[in-house]
Every structure is written in structure tokens, then in C-alpha cells.
Symmetry: C2
Subunit: 447 residues, 2 copies
């Protein structure tokens, strides 16, 4: 049997390895557009921060190793362009422009996502860079190393933009972020996002929200001018981090159903609307554990897990994924910023009657040295009492704490039940009442 | 209505404050044997570590403040000696040896626990000290400050003993721990406890398990000799940290039912077998969320929570506590040691068919600097697939991670369901697959 995989990153290579482990005789072919497979994309900002580190540190396993050790056929620089569901073939072109055609019995679409390039004059100038795949990372790091870069403008303020602020600051580079919509992390509770803003400003980052970039022009003496309606920023490099969109065109063209944001629709077994085709990773959607509805929240853990599950199902081992809570964490200089589940707005949209609470407490016990403040925001449902979502910001103690709330969402716990959780306490690690419990106790009073 | 509380620490003062908030006209009287109420007992080792800090930093609120601001009558150095359930009175003696008698409509027994003093000749010599209440802490710190202390022997190896190792080492004091039963943290998976042992040894702590102390004698030139069958340790001070037992005698004498370890038996509303008497804190038992059976696991969060819940119920606001998972964390030098739920042995005793897994993974993502190893041990049930318990040891990332497993225990999740949890990922904070998920995936294969 031929198992063909389009895309050799997290989901694709997880599926390839897992399928080979299940069925050593399965012919597994990975068609990868770039020259890289299996690397830690999320590690790129941290790698870029350190000029001494090689970008290839992030490669977890090279294509040759997959070939030799696992017998997976990895076709690098093979661009899949068309799926023919009738004849069950993937067609495309290789590195030399030669057409190829791969027949499949089962196909996995793991094409990932691509950076959104806003329609701005100058967006394709050399020195205006994106950061999605490893080749982007190499290009960006090379650009930084090759010239004197004093200031960078980042278009966008999502978590990649925020992580890049820290990475660039670590190299002594000044950063301005700019985006058209007002509000930094507008999905976040205002008290929490204000704290993130203050952290960025304390590190000298310019935050220009509510300003649409109208053009990027190459400056005569080198560098760029980034122009908005009422301001122009001069800089030496531009990073476009204005969001990503699923690479689902090839799936849609093959007649597969797509869902939110155009992502490929899959069921709990990762199967698309075609029984021979599966999809996993940043190109595919998922069911939200709180709403039960389809969502597109592209994150690394889901990609890995979905790759495994798709391989299981393709190999006849039924695996159903229960869905995602959208749990995420990122570092903004010295802050840990974490979230899971629904925001108040998302809860309203999903038909809940949300009630929220925002508290500020300490990261360590009363009188314990080194304590910092932690903000917690919880969303609950007035009708059912269910916990719907959580957000946390603090200098310590947020990144792993959020997981307790995530598990509660998976279990469909009420705020009352969650508030009774027996969480860990010792003075160096938190107050007697964990910040999440204090917030739950407060929210309970309002429900 | 008269609400009398015996014991003014976590459970007692939580109940007093909460009851007064519910019913400002309620007469609330706290009978406290020592001269302190409301302090962070768990903070004592960390306070002792720093000669500059005053032990009274740990007082959260003084008795006078409870009196003035909240109208709670706090009777310090009032020792309750007898409860008469017929006439509903508590009898005892005050600081001057005068008898008192307090009538109650509702009584809360929050008498806490006391250190167990092994029957060893010399155990009551001055300089052989315990650490339970704030007065113990003051005495111990005063003893340390007043003389040259080069070496301390700790009898016992529980978490107070381990925290004191770090506290004493911070003051440049050598430490030996000794106890009769073999094994450091014998309830813990052997791979994890070996790591804790290595950490202690790396910091020069002498670990003498399987050695019963036979006598403590005052040495001629000052200091002590701690003698066991085959060894004698000379030291300048002895700390007895050989466990605690519930202060439930007064309850048992009043005919109240007691349970595991002799703790006062309470229902989910914290009511004892007498409808007018409640009990909360280290003297009372609880239901375990995994087994549903009574257990005695005295920890600070439960004490606070139970104090609140008892006050709620006494004030006519029905509150039922769902029980405890026994979640705990402590710091051993640079290690975070955390656990929740059942050990393999406890699971067997409770009638489960336990299967376990122990894994070693990293605290941060592939190639991310500063990563340390994390050990995770999980216990699951072969029959039902349920997650039963978790243990973690690592230099970072254990203290808050354990809470995700604790919530899963509250939700009676299977290992399969837990393994699907959408936990947070970012390179500085963990691998893509959270250590708990990696362990759950491994355990799943064995179930």
C-alpha cells in the first residue's frame, strides 16, 4: 500500500514515522516543497536571538535519517500542485522543474500554513522578510548577520511578532511593531494585555497599533521607510508577521470540504470528506473541546498529535481525537503569557452567557522572597456554570499553571468543581490558594 | 448564636473570618493554645534559612486585627481540654491557669496536628527541637542564632526534614538525616527518589535511612551525640521531624467518630458525627477523590478550604467539598518534587490493578538552552483505564505541571483522555509533548 504525505514538517513526519512503525512494509513517501523536514519552527526566534547558534540546531532529524533508519522515502523540493482523487494521484514538479506523479492508496495533506502578506507596495522588497519555515529563518538570520541592523519594523503583533521583539532586543536591535487594528492582543482581557504592553514598552519596543502600513520603500542610503497615514518609520529590515493562513488550496481544488478560515475539514479520525484522504497540522481544522464546533487554531502539539492519529487510522488502528482547547503560551521578555479555551467574545458567539473575572495575586506565598504578581482572567458560563476559558500573565508561574485549566476544559468542569481542585502548594511556588483557584472562587460569586 | 473555634491557625481563622463575613452578628470565639494565630507555617524553613528575616514576617494577620477589624474574639493561650457535647460547652484553662468554659451553638475543632516524638532517651533535651507552630520556629531560629552550630541531625526524612536541609545548608550548616525505615521517600518511584537522594548528597547531606536512633545524649563540651546501633553522629542541635499526628484526642474523648490515623471523621460538609460540631484542618480527615475513601493527608490548602466550607455550612450556606487528591510539592535544593493521587501501592490497596510508567524527558524544547531533565511517574488502572496518580521530579517545570494531573484526578479521567489534553507549548517552557503527555502516551501502551 502507498501512503503519500504532502508536507514534511510536524504533522507529516510524525505520521510518516508512526505509520512505518505500525506497518514496516508500508510504502511511505513524503513530498516536501522545501529542503527541510522535521525541525522546531517554534524555536526560530530563540535561535535568531543568539548569533552564535546555527539555525540547523533546530533540525530534529534529517531527511537522510528518515530514509536510512526508517525506510521513509523523503522527496525534498517536490512541490505537490494537484490531487486527482479519481485516479488517486498527486501531481507536481520537482526541484529541477520536472513533473512527477505519485499514486496513493492513502493520502495525508500536511501542507501547513503560510504567512499572510498584506497587499502593501514594497512588501516583496528584499529585506522585507517573513518567518515561517526554516528557510525563512536562515534567510532572516543571514540578513541580520550580514549587515548593521539598528532598527527593525515588525508588521503584526501576534505571538511570533512578540517573540521576535525579544530575539531582536537580545541582539541590541531596536524594534517597532505596527498593525492596522487597534489593541495589542485584542482577544485578551484588557488588564492583562496592558501588562504585556507595559513589558514591551519597558524594553523600548515601539507599539503602533491602529496604524495601517501604506507602503514600504527602499531608502536611498540603504534600509527602508515604512509609511503609515500619520507616521513614517525608518529601519534596516522589515519582518512581516501579520498572521498565517492554511495551505488548503490544493485540497479545495480537489473538491475536499473546507471549514473555518478555509482550513481542510477533518473528522475526529483526521479524515477529510474523501475517504482516502486525511489531513493534519496547520492546514487542517479541529473540534473545540468547549464548543464542539470546528475551529482553526494551528499549534505544534495538535500537529504532532494529529499526524500520529492520522497514521493510526490509516494503519487500521482507530484513533479519535477529542479536540483542542487552544492552549497556548508565549514569552514576552520577562513575562509568561498563557491562555486556554474561549475568550468572553468567543463564548458569546458560541451561545454561552459568559461572566468573567480578572484578579491580581502573587506568584509565591505570603512573605516568600522573589514573589511577582500574576494576573488571572477566567471566563465562565452563567447558564451551566461551566468553565470556558482562562488567561494568565506573570513573570513566573503561568506557563505550566494554564494546563490545569486546560484539563478542566477537556473535562467540561464547572467553575465550582474546578474551584475545588486540590492543587499543589509550597511557599516557593505559589500562594496557598493557587492563583487559578483564587480566580475561580471570585468568578463563582458572580455566576 | 455562639460559634466557638478551637485552634486559630489556617482552618480556624479561615472559618472565623468567613463566618463573620456571612453573619456579622454571629459571636465568633477562637480558643488558641499558643500566642499566635494566622501565620504561614509552611514558610518557616525558608524564613529560618535567612538569619536577617524576622520569624514574625510569617504572621499574616495578628489576633488584635481579627478582634478590631472583624469583631472576632480571639483568646490566645487558651487551652481547650474538654468538650461537653451534652451541655455544649468547651472547657479549658487560660494562660494564667484559670479554668474557662465557653458555651457554643456550633463548634469547630481545628486543633491541627502535633509532631510525633519517638520514644528515644534524650528526645526532650534542650536543643532537641521540633518545627510545627510558630513558637517552635522562633525557638529553633533563636537556638541557631545564639550559638555556633556546625552540624544538625534531623530525625526523619519527610518534606519538612528535606526543606530544613536546604534551610540549614543556606546558613552553612552541615546536615545529617536519620530514620529507622529504609528508603528515602519510600512512597515514591525508585528512579525519582534516587534523583532526590543524589541532589541531597550533592549538597553534602548525610542520609542514614534504615537506622533507628537509640539515644540522644548531651556531649560534655556542648552539643549532642545521636546514637544508632552502628553509628554515632556528633552535632550541635537535633531537629525531630518524624511525622505528625492529628490533635484529635479532645474530639475522641467527646465521643466523636475518628478515622484514618485517628483523625476526626467529617462528612463532605465538614460535620463530625455530632450535628453541632464540625472539624477542619490537620486534625480532620477527608475523602480521597480517586478512591472515595477516607484519608488523612494534612495539607495547607485543604485546611483553608475546609475552614471556609465549615463556616459556610454553619451559616446555613450548604457547601460540600468534593475531596482531595493529596497534591503536594516541595523543594529539595534545586529540585522540584511533586505528587498527586495514589502511589502504586496505595492503588493496589484500594482495589485497583495498577500499571505504572516512569519516563525521563526534558524541561524545554529540543535545542532550547537551559533545559534540564524531568522525571515523570504515572499510575493508571488496568481495569478502567483511569489515571490514578502522578509524581514528578526536576530542576524546573514540576511544581505547577502536577496540577494538570490533579485536575484530571478530580475529573476521574482515563489515561487515554488525559493523554489527549491540549497542554501549552513554547520552547522556553517545555517540549512539544508536555512531559505529562509523554508519560501518559507511554502508560497507555501498557494498559
Amino acid at each position: 500500500m502507498d501512503f503519500v504525505i504532502i508536507g514534511g514538517d510536524a504533522a507529516g513526519m510524525s505520521a510518516a514515522s508512526r505509520a512505518k512503525r505500525h506497518q514496516p512494509n508500508l510504502r511511505v513517501t513524503v513530498l516536501e516543497m522545501t529542503r527541510d523536514v522535521s525541525y522546531s519552527a517554534c524555536g526560530m526566534p530563540y535561535n535568531i536571538a543568539d548569533p552564535q547558534r546555527d539555525m540547523d540546531d533546530l533540525v530534529v532529524r534529517e531527511a537522510a535519517v528518515f530514509e536510512k533508519k526508517q525506510g521513509i522515502r523523503v522527496r525534498l523540493r517536490h512541490e505537490a500542485r494537484r490531487i486527482d482523487p479519481e485516479s488517486r494521484r498527486v501531481e507536481g514538479v520537482d526541484a529541477d522543474g520536472r513533473p512527477f506523479s505519485s499514486p496513493y492508496d492513502r493520502l495525508l495533506i500536511a501542507t501547513g500554513a503560510s504567512p499572510i502578506l498584506p497587499k502593501i507596495p514594497g512588501i516583496k522588497l528584499p529585506g522585507v522578510l517573513v518567518l515561517k519555515n526554516l528557510e525563512d529563518g536562515r534567510r532572516l538570520k543571514h540578513y541580520l548577520s550580514g549587515r548593521k541592523i539598528g532598527r527593525v519594523v515588525i508588521i503584526g503583533m501576534g505571538y511570533i511578532a512578540l517573540e521576535m521583539c525579544e530575539a531582536l532586543a537580545a541582539r541590541g536591535i531596536a524594534v517597532d511593531m505596527i498593525k492596522p487594528r487597534p489593541g495589542l492582543l485584542p482577544w485578551m482581557d484588557s488588564e492583562l494585555s496592558a501588562r504585556v504592553r507595559a513589558e514591551l514598552e519597558a524594553h523600548g519596543v515601539g507599539i503602533h497599533d491602529g496604524r495601517a502600513v501604506e507602503n514600504i520603500t527602499a531608502a536611498p542610503g540603504g534600509g527602508f521607510k515604512v509609511g503609515a497615514a500619520d507616521m513614517t518609520i525608518s529601519c534596516d529590515m522589515v519582518i512581516v508577521a501579520a498572521g498565517i493562513s492554511p495551505n488548503s488550496r490544493i485540497a479545495a481544488d480537489a473538491g475536499l470540504e473546507t471549514g473555518p478560515m478555509g482550513a481542510v475539514s477533518v473528522d475526529a479520525t483526521l479524515r477529510t470528506s474523501n475517504p482516502y484522504i486525511y489531513s493534519a497540522g496547520d492546514c487542517a481544522d479541529a473540534f473545540h473541546v468547549v464548543t464542539g464546533k470546528r475551529v482553526w487554531i494551528p499549534l505544534a502539539l495538535r500537529a504532532n498529535r494529529a499526524g500520529w492519529a492520522a497514521a493510526d487510522n490509516i494503519c487500521g488502528i482507530e484513533t479519535r481525537l477529542s479536540g483542542i482547547a487552544g492552549t497556548a503560551v508565549f514569552k514576552v521578555f520577562d513575562l509568561e503569557v498563557a491562555c486556554t479555551g474561549l475568550t468572553q467574545n468567543e463564548a458569546t458567539t458560541a451561545g454561552f452567557l459568559p461572566e468573567t473575572v480578572t484578579i491580581k495575586t502573587r506568584s509565591r506565598a505570603h512573605a516568600h522572597p522573589g514573589s511577582a504578581s500574576i494576573h488571572v482572567h477566567l471566563v465562565g458560563d452563567r447558564e451551566t456554570g461551566r468553565l470556558l476559558g482562562a488567561q494568565m500573565v506573570g513573570r513566573e508561574g503561568c506557563a505550566h499553571r494554564i494546563n490545569a485549566a486546560a484539563v478542566a476544559l477537556h473535562a467540561h468542569m464547572t467553575v465550582a468543581d474546578f474551584s475545588q481542585s486540590d492543587l499543589a502548594y509550597a511557599p516557593p511556588f505559589g500562594p496557598v490558594w493557587d492563583p487559578l483557584l483564587t480566580a475561580a472562587n471570585q468568578l463563582l460569586k458572580k455566576l
